[in-house]
């Protein structure tokens, strides 16, 4: 009994001390993540250009505006369509690239993976500017065109597609491929019926990691389509805030954009019907 009491006394202050360590961060999360989201929602129902700390007004004006004005609908459609094209192109380049990488010798594999990763550590503006320079030199007709913007997005976001696909492909048990060929499947059929379904979770997370930043980009159209003939949703938010100071209007755009994104994420997550394959792994952790 005495020993047990002694133990409890020791454990209590320790646990209490460790629990208090999280308090500063909970404060940061509440003030800098949770409250801003609520303020953004409140702001989206306010009129712009009213003064005071908490201007009290209530309006659906911004949301109704989206239905009336074509700028919002058009830029949203352009963004989604450009992001979809980017995702498809990165998938077409990224999947074979990841597949080839898994077949290489370990040393070469690590070098090439590092070379694919390395640009992600470089400032995105520098890379896009570099690409703009190359385009102006060799392919001037791509400037101010949708293919040019898509190429820019592929250039920046390709690693986000390659890495998750590589991660799942490199974990596939090779004995599965051997048994497929033993059972009479040719190489093409093995890839289609065994490799692709097993790598689906990597493909879907790659799709999300490319689609979302591509749809909300500001930088790429500004550099590669400087004459503003391609108007994406990021440009619309930037223009509303930086040039016109329409913060409430921009908040309303951001909220509609978040809802669209949530819908897309939900739909793509639902597609992952093979997630059972990786369940064993999740349990192992």
């Amino acid at each position: 009994m005495v020993v047990q009491n002694h133990d409890q006394k020791k454990v209590k202050p320790k646990k209490k001390f460790e629990l208090t360590l999280g308090v500063p961060y909970y404060f940061v999360l509440i003030v800098l993540v949770v409250i801003p989201i609520f303020l953004m929602i409140i702001s989206s129902f306010q009129l712009d250009h009213t003064s005071g700390i908490f201007p009290i007004s209530f309006t659906f004006e911004h949301y109704l505006d989206f239905l009336k004005a074509s700028t919002f609908v058009n830029s949203m459609a352009t963004s989604l369509w450009i992001a979809a094209a980017t995702t498809i192109v990165t998938l077409i380049i990224g999947y074979p690239l990841a597949y080839i990488l898994t077949k290489l010798k370990p040393r070469l594999q690590i070098s090439l993976l590092l070379l694919i990763n390395a640009p992600m550590w470089i400032n995105m503006l520098l890379r896009v500017r570099a690409l703009e320079q190359i385009m102006r030199m060799f392919f001037p007709y791509l400037i101010d065109s949708i293919p040019g913007v898509v190429i820019g997005l592929v250039y920046v976001y390709l690693p986000f597609m390659v890495l998750p696909i590589f991660a799942v492909l490199s974990k596939i048990d090779t004995s599965l491929l051997e048994s497929a060929s033993d059972l009479g499947a040719n190489r093409f059929k093995t890839i289609l019926k065994v490799v692709v379904p097993l790598s689906l979770s990597g493909v879907l997370s790659g799709i999300l990691m490319v689609f979302l930043p591509a749809a909300t980009t500001i930088i790429i159209p500004q550099y590669l389509a400087p004459s503003h003939n391609i108007y994406m949703i990021g440009t619309l938010i930037e223009k509303s805030i930086i040039n016109n100071g329409l913060i409430s209007y921009a908040s309303a755009i951001a909220i509609v954009l978040s809802l669209v994104i949530l819908g897309i994420v939900y739909y793509i997550k639902k597609l992952d019907k093979y997630k059972g394959v990786n369940r064993n792994e999740a349990e192992a952790f």
């Binding site: 460790e18 999360l29 409250i35 290489l104 690590i110 400032n123 102006r136 913060i247």
Partner: protein
Amino acid sequence: MKQKRSSAPTIIFLVVVFIFIYAPIISIAVFSFNEANSLVRWSGFTFDRYIELFTDRELFNYTNPRESIVFMTLWIAVISTLVSAILGTLAAIALTQTKKVIRDLTMSVNNIPIVSPEIITAVSLLVLFGALQIAPSYNTMLIAHIAFSTPYVLITVYPKVKSLDPNIADAAYDLGASPFKALLKVILPQIKVAIIAGAAIAFTMSFDDFIISYFVAGSSGDKNISIYLYTNRLSPKPIINALSTIILVIIGGKITYDYFKTGNKMEEIE
């Protein structure tokens, strides 16, 4: 049977992809040595751009670092990395002890800035600073950087803390260590590598950040390197190529170093 050697189409595919990735980066470096002010036409080799770069008052102001874009970018990156590394590590330690409800809730809120597109985080922080009537400046930029870096530190450090053997810390307490001493001498040394990894992510995110910095501080005239690059995009100055090349060399050096480190480790395993 299985092919051992890579086929010609495979090699061509790899070469084309790597040219696509690296040609622009190499061209930036090459044109930083161009004698003419052009980014398209080559006319001769010179180091002038580098001299111009280090004497540029806007980028490097040696007498008044508060006015210097490069120094302020580094300063914000260092401070936000320090603060987010401390906050994130302490929170990771606390989370292993809390109730599951609080842990799950914290983790979901922690994921919001990681998952949501930068532009949405940027608008929400802008609205926050507007409502609190905090004028945009380097201070709002610093606060915003702490807000988006700490979640990455937490998700990097938390799995490591979770994997620690609790008996080791308990042993320290039994031997009479105070909770603070146990944290400093027993827990932190075990998770050091994860903290450094988290801090490296935080530093790069802060150093390279554009959208969030631009929204929360852009209107004040206080610029980091990204905002400087962006606002000068229509009148491309060749000194930017020199600046880019220096950044490229530093990052390239770091990556090469990592490569040889992992390479040596692989050989040890073999």
